[in-house]
């Protein structure tokens, strides 16, 4: 305990001086459970806590805090002599460079076992540039393809990539429509021009092309748009049978409401983010009913666990909270396996092994296993549908909790 504190507060050159002694000291600490209290395991949590994505950052932090508190109250990590998890939370802001600086700060100030973050793909990428050079594992649920596409060794992406999600968004929809006896021939894609929107739109486009479905409208729009009428005017003239909007909350409400105003009733299949948070239903009321959305995990896959989140925070466990909880679960399992809180030992334990149980039950595939690039190969997207104030998993069939409703 005291060792870590002195590490954090001594001068800038302490790393060179202490690295040797720290290594020597670390092993007795780990092995002797007779000690009153084991050194805590420092885990950096870097999230956008201010700026336009603050809401998602706070949701993510809530998920992580829930898991950490539960582990700590249950006596910490037994393999490390009951070591507690010490979350070091920091604001990534909305600028990637600042996020990188924040990561550098956390790693320099304390011995970090790992870093979790940062919801927004561009922030995650900037953080990974720092963690990679310092050999600290970074666990994330950001979607962007580049995250595990750069050959980095210390990054672990627990969910499917954006292009895969986009493709599934189309393919699942086609399958659901087919099961209901409908056939989709023309679709419209509209997405915000962010990393997430463009990457997912690429997947949608690829899916449509493979299925020989015509994309009659394919429009990016500026982030923070306050008037979607031009988009919906265009949609109305396009003759599309289904629309795939990929956006955060404000745009998603605008799009659905403007569609209603213009009496457009074609199904809208959302691209996660703004379509799978409680505020979507709060904003739309009855118009939210039966809206479909792609997602990467859902709380109804592990209801007994996610209910604890609802109890503590008062809303259902949104996917970013759940997936970050899974990040911490996987991390803790790796620490237990490595019997070490050293970053490089944990990174080695994360690679290749298969993690199951606990919060991981909330993921598709029922387990987490990272490949060479750090991508969780077992995660597949799923389709959810709004039912009253809840979202219910409706596809793929083997994990669905309810049958999908299709109205074309």
């Amino acid at each position: 305990m005291s060792k870590h504190h002195s590490l954090g507060s001594t001068g800038v050159n302490r790393r060179a001086l202490l690295s040797g002694t720290a290594a020597l000291l670390a092993s007795p600490f780990v092995l002797s459970s007779a000690r009153a209290e084991a050194a805590p395991v420092n885990v950096g949590v870097i999230m956008p806590l201010s700026g336009p994505n603050a809401q998602f950052g706070i949701n993510s932090r809530n998920g992580i805090e829930l898991v950490a508190d539960e582990i700590n109250t249950a006596g910490g990590i037994a393999e490390l002599g009951g070591a507690k998890i010490n979350l070091v939370v920091a604001d990534a802001t909305s600028t990637p460079t600042t996020a990188g600086t924040v990561a550098q700060r956390l790693i320099t100030q304390q011995d970090m076992t790992a870093v979790l973050g940062a919801f927004v793909s561009s922030l995650t990428i900037a953080i990974s540039e720092v963690t990679e050079r310092r050999d600290i594992p970074l666990l994330t649920m950001s979607f962007a393809d580049q995250i595990t596409g750069r050959g980095y060794k210390n990054i672990f992406q627990v969910v499917a990539k954006a292009s895969v999600i986009g493709k599934a968004q189309f393919e699942y929809t086609a399958a659901i429509a087919q099961a209901a006896g409908a056939k989709i021939e023309k679709i419209a894609i509209m997405y915000e021009d962010t990393a997430y929107g463009t990457a997912q739109a690429n997947g949608l486009r690829a899916g449509a092309k493979a299925a020989n479905v015509e994309v009659v409208m394919d429009d990016a729009y500026p982030l923070g748009i306050t008037d979607t009428t031009p988009l919906i005017n265009k949609l109305r003239g396009s003759g599309a049978q289904a629309v795939f909007p990929v956006s955060y909350l404000n745009d998603s409400l605008l799009i659905i409401r403007t569609m209603r105003q213009q009496k457009l009733t074609i199904p809208a299949i959302g691209g996660a983010a703004g379509y799978v948070i409680p505020d979507f239903e709060k904003g739309l009321g009855e118009f939210a009913e039966n809206v479909l959305s792609i997602d990467t995990s859902n709380y109804d896959l592990a209801p007994q666990l996610t209910e604890r989140f609802r109890k503590r925070f008062g809303y259902f466990m949104v996917h970013e909270a759940l997936e970050h909880a899974v990040c911490l679960e996987v991390l803790v399992q790796a620490i237990r396996k490595a019997k070490s809180a050293k970053a490089e030992d944990v990174a080695a334990a994360l690679r290749g092994a298969k993690f199951t149980g606990g919060w991981i039950n909330g993921m598709t595939g029922g387990a987490v296993q990272f490949d060479q690039t750090g991508l969780n190969v077992l995660s597949v997207p799923l389709m959810v549908q709004w039912r009253a104030k809840d979202i219910v998993t409706v596809w793929p069939k083997d994990i669905a909790k309810s049958a999908p409703v299709w109205r074309s």
Binding site: N13, A54, V89, A90, P96, I107, T108, I125, D193, G197
Partner: protein
């Protein structure tokens, strides 16, 4: 003579600082960005201070520099040093293109026109995906470390390059300020009509200042890209993250003086970091809120920048010396 000695002492002291900081650590990164932002604000100062045209769109040229060198490196493997020159040329050209229609605008109109130009460049960078990678951003690839390839494992060389850049940009600023061009710019600042009458080609001088400033900040864009390693359109073309920030740094320090941007950068950048460190985990928004309050207080206290603290100190000293 004394002043030069003092200046040399300060430069040596600053030059020694990176040696004392953990080369993989946090403070050297903050130090490097502080130097970079000081240099950026100094480049802005040529237009914003000497020509008295408050540009709120310098991110346009900065982003051009960052993207030019990084795209040349990614697509053709060209060293960022050469890319920096190409970026500087493009940045200067862009500055010329936007200066021609906006040059005659006064005060707030100029500020708002440049703000809009910065946004134009941001939108273009977002849309032109095949060249810029779009909103997904660009990662500077890691190549074997060497000075020629502008690639280093540690931050220390980056800190020295940023320091050298600050010295060079400050020297250029001083040369302009003391030279004929500075004289002409001051004449225009005080009375454009009168300057025209005494034979100052106001158009030409303003264009020169705009191009030099634009080219310099574009070259600094390359430096930024090499340190930050990853950036997207919102980072390098951002209103808040770049345009407003560098103007703010110069203004907090003292517009139109060589020391102003340096003082401003060494106040603003570390302050942001300390705020984020101390407060960001307590309550969302608190650190930024305190930062804003400090900003307002400083402006109310010293509307003409920190530099005026030294002026009043000097005035007090000379007064007490006289009595």
């Amino acid at each position: 003579m004394k002043r030069w000695l003092a200046l040399a002492a300060v430069i040596v002291a600053v030059a020694l600082l990176p040696l004392l900081l953990d080369p993989r650590g946090y403070w050297i990164r903050v130090f490097t960005f502080t130097l970079l932002f000081a240099a950026m604000a100094q480049a802005w100062n040529i237009v914003g201070g000497l020509a008295n045209q408050t540009s709120l769109g310098h991110a346009a040229f900065f982003g051009i520099g960052a993207y030019t060198s990084t795209v040349l490196l990614l697509k053709f493997g060209i060293s960022p040093w050469l890319g920096m020159l190409a970026g500087g040329a493009l940045g200067g050209l862009a500055a010329l293109v936007i200066a021609i229609p906006t040059m005659r605008l006064q005060g707030h109109y100029f500020a708002l026109a440049t703000l809009a130009f910065g946004e134009v460049m941001r939108v273009i960078a977002n849309v032109w995906t095949s060249l810029t990678g779009g909103p997904g951003g660009l990662s500077v690839p890691f190549v074997p470390p060497s000075l020629a390839a502008y690639s280093f494992k540690l931050l220390r060389p980056h800190a020295y390059i940023a320091l050298a850049a600050l010295v060079v940009v400050t020297a250029i600023f001083e040369i302009i300020r003391r030279g004929a061009m500075g004289y002409r710019l001051r004449a225009i600042k005080q009375n454009p009509a009168a300057a025209e009458v005494i034979g100052v080609d106001t158009t030409r001088v303003k264009l020169q200042a705009a191009v030099i400033s634009g080219a310099l900040i574009a070259m600094l864009g390359t430096l930024y890209a090499q340190v930050a390693v990853f950036f997207d359109p919102d980072t390098v073309f951002g209103i808040a993250s770049i345009s407003i920030r560098i103007a703010l740094i110069a203004i907090i320090g003292g517009v139109g003086t060589a020391a102003g941007p340096i003082l401003g950068a060494f106040f603003i950048i570390p302050l942001e970091e300390v705020m984020n460190d101390l407060l960001s985990s307590r309550a969302a928004g608190l650190s930024q809120l305190v930062f804003g309050v400090i900003l307002i207080s400083v402006i109310l206290w010293r509307p003409r920048g920190f530099i005026t603290v030294f002026d009043s100190l000097r005035a007090r000293l000379s007064r007490s010396g006289a009595s």
